[in-house]
Symmetry: C2
Subunit: 189 residues, 2 copies
DNA sequence: CTTGAAAAACCGTCCGGACGGTATAGTTAG
DNA sequence: CTAACTATACCGTCCGGACGGTTTTTCAAG
């Protein structure tokens, strides 16, 4: 019904373009003009959808945090019930062999995250909310206190290492870390 | 003997001022003019010592990574010898009750880190080198493979959480996490 | 010592360029 | 007629950096 219609609507294309730009050329490269060009839209067109750079970043972060929350929920749902369910899913999520699409998602998440923080740290609010939910879930996971939080922190650390290209553990190393942390899943509170 | 002499030399004052600026008002607030003003120096004076913004950031990062390396070495030296020495010192370092000066140091480290990354990710090279050394030390620590790396990652995650103000674990929670991770120190390879 | 000239340390101003944002006039599809 | 744009021009601001000049320090010769 729309053979000539764009595959996605303009706002989405603009958000995608902004992410791509940050990934490819860094946070500083995200300008309104560049994002518009990358999205195949005029600058005026971009500003029609996002009234300011801040609005663009807000939208970017809203989309990201919604996606993360949903992905995490799905990952938890895929784990068997019982104590440590949430912590197990975090291990899966952060230390999984990582199909490439997952890695790419991490990269996109990092890109948006950094860009938002650079413009105004307050923009991270939605992400903070999602993380607070995760922390609550992990605290009510039926593990001894601290065990889940430690696993979550390790996943965060790995995320940061990737975000800033600090180091890249081999998949063997990843598996070892994961096995080590699995040792924290056994005990009861 | 120096009632009118500066307490520290100008380059150091400028580096300190730059850090303070980032901490107080964010990475975007680090401009040559602002740093010069904060350091009580003219812009020209700043450029005399640091020929470009990049040179300033390089110096900041050089100083930071040297400091981190030294602080970490001291922390390791303070731990009893034996397997897991390095991992134990990382626990101490990242999860310690944190005298305030330590927290302030973390904050400064994060500030410099972010500013450098924002300007050019390649500037993180000295920090990457320090981290690579830490990883090597932790790999030769006499623990089962992965255990030390997991502890290190958890410390990194905590660092990131503080860096972006994602969450602030209470000191009780911190102690619990530390206790949990201590469980990874027991086994032999 | 004194001197005086070079070197180091520093000042203040200016410029080119980029960016965010606004404005405006025109176009196309429904 | 309206929503959804395009194309272009423009403004105010700010930043990095270059530059020329000025003060302070150093140091060897007299």
């Amino acid at each position: 019904m729309d053979g000539h219609a764009p595959t996605v609507d303009a706002p989405t294309r603009i958000l995608d373009a902004a992410e791509n730009l940050i990934i490819a050329r860094g946070v500083a490269a995200l300008t309104l003009e560049a994002a518009a060009r990358e999205a195949g839209v005029s600058k005026g067109g971009l500003l029609y959808h996002f009234a300011s750079k801040e609005a663009l970043l807000e939208a970017l972060l809203r989309r990201l945090s919604a996606f993360i929350a949903q992905e995490f929920a799905a990952c938890v749902a895929a784990q068997p019930e019982g104590p440590g369910r949430v912590a197990r899913s975090m291990l899966e999520w952060g230390f999984g062999e990582g199909d490439l699409s997952c890695n790419e998602r991490h990269q996109r998440a990092g890109a948006v995250f950094l860009a938002a923080f650079h413009h105004d740290p307050a923009l991270l609010a939605p992400m903070r909310a999602v993380i607070a939910e995760m922390r609550a879930a992990v605290a009510a996971d039926g593990l001894p206190p601290g065990h889940g939080a430690a696993i979550m922190a390790a996943g965060d650390g790995l995320f940061m290492a990737r975000l800033f290209s600090l180091y890249a553990p081999s998949s063997a190393e990843l598996a070892e870390m994961r096995a080590a942390l699995s040792g924290l899943l056994g005990a009861r509170p």
